[in-house]
Amino acid sequence: MSDGKVSLTGLNDEQSEELHRNLIQGTQFFGMIAALAHLLAYIYSPWLK
């Protein structure tokens, strides 16, 4: 597939991996922000106390 052939979705391996890299990076960014927000919520609220 990496030799230019198209797959079921029309993406080749390189395109698929590039998309996946960006998706993972976005997920990590979202996760960092969410972790920070949960830390602040834990500190400033009676949550789990």
């Binding site: 597939m1 797959s7 079921l8 979705t9 993406l11 080749n12 391996d13 395109q15 698929s16 991996e17 998309l19 996946h20 890299r21 998706l23 993972i24 609220s45 009676p46 949550w47």
Partner: protein, 66 residues
């Protein structure tokens, strides 16, 4: 990268909205459950209403002469 080639099988126009939608629905339902099952989230959203809602002090009344 692990699972990097999944988008050769799953259409990104289907898979990505599905993943993001699942995260959004899950997140919304957990936060909504916390909102409806605790007092402190709604108190936080009320802002300073806790102090504002306190009963106003009654005005001093002069003693009644008999």
């Amino acid at each position: 990268m692990i699972y990097g080639k999944m988008w050769t099988v799953v259409k990104p126009t289907v898979g990505i909205p599905l993943i993001i939608g699942a995260v959004a629905v899950g997140s919304f339902s957990v936060h909504y459950a916390i909102l409806t099952h605790t007092t402190w989230v709604s108190a936080f959203l009320e802002g300073g209403a806790k102090t504002a809602a306190a009963p106003a002090l009654a005005a001093p009344v002069a003693p009644v002469k008999k």
